[in-house]
Symmetry: C5
Subunit: 89 residues, 5 copies
Amino acid sequence: MILGKVVGTVWATRKDEELVGAKLLIVKHVDLNYKVKDAFVVAVDTVQAGVGDVVLIATGSSARQTAATKNKPVDAVIMAVVDKLDVAD
Amino acid sequence: MILGKVVGTVWATRKDEELVGAKLLIVKHVDLNYKVKDAFVVAVDTVQAGVGDVVLIATGSSARQTAATKNKPVDAVIMAVVDKLDVAD
Amino acid sequence: MILGKVVGTVWATRKDEELVGAKLLIVKHVDLNYKVKDAFVVAVDTVQAGVGDVVLIATGSSARQTAATKNKPVDAVIMAVVDKLDVAD
Amino acid sequence: MILGKVVGTVWATRKDEELVGAKLLIVKHVDLNYKVKDAFVVAVDTVQAGVGDVVLIATGSSARQTAATKNKPVDAVIMAVVDKLDVAD
Amino acid sequence: MILGKVVGTVWATRKDEELVGAKLLIVKHVDLNYKVKDAFVVAVDTVQAGVGDVVLIATGSSARQTAATKNKPVDAVIMAVVDKLDVAD
């Protein structure tokens, strides 16, 4: 999974009908010190994540293994909000 | 999903028969300020997108989760036209 | 899909039995001016493409959505020969 | 598969219910001399790996082909702990 | 598919039970002149490849489309040994 930080929201009225109601968040990749990188992905939120949250994202077909995303044309899903990282020195 | 901007169209007469009628658009990646990058992808349009539109693209098997792309050999689909981005400062 | 140009052929006698008869082409990525890049992929041809042709390649599980590649261990397929690109200025 | 080294753990209380009980490890990519790179991935552990272990990671839908990850929204799984590498000179 | 050269073997005793008996080879990417790059992948061998062989690798779910890898947590498989490349000048 990708470690990222939610930095915003995408608004889209015209979209695949399966996506109506889906919350589309902009998530920037972060390093292990939570430093934000330029790379980002747009992901469907399934865990009530909000701006500023550090999250995990599952991509590809794995992004469709949640109740909210099953059989939908989405390739990235936020499936966890990170509390903390334990990193060995 | 990838955030991109439609910059053109691919014309291809000789193709897999499942692709007859599919609109193949050229989409350049953009950053959160809509600045266009060099990287691009060719994606099947399913939401009547046109040149200049900022769009979301789903890739991989997720690209086949629309009525227009089901079971077809396509790995990128435009599934939303972006109205606007809300990005936190 | 990836935009590429066919530059050669791979010969392989010892291979998965499902690949017997498959034509394996070497395809370099190209930019929107058809300029060839260093990056390349080996893809199964399904549209009678030949050296010099500009083509589209579908990757991943989508590469198995053709009659010639179904259930086979291939992750890249040429599914269209490009006639031309219309790119907005 | 990716060759990596376990460097830490992710703690996440709020997550997809299918992930309850899953151990989420932080794995940095390593080269063939076990030198750690900056790139990392968060993966579900299925082989009792721990910090300092060199491991193999399967990604994408292949990450869901274990008893512990079947049908779950995870795209990276640790499926082996490496004893040693034999690399030809 | 990726073009690569086998440079070694991974030994792993503790692993997913579906991987018992699988031969795990280290394959470095090569360019069209067979020059070895730094990038490498660990792949399951299904065609009796050995160190020094130039091979093709299928990745992702396509890596599971062989008799030896079906339903197993592997995302890269060697499915052909390359005899030669014909590359146009």
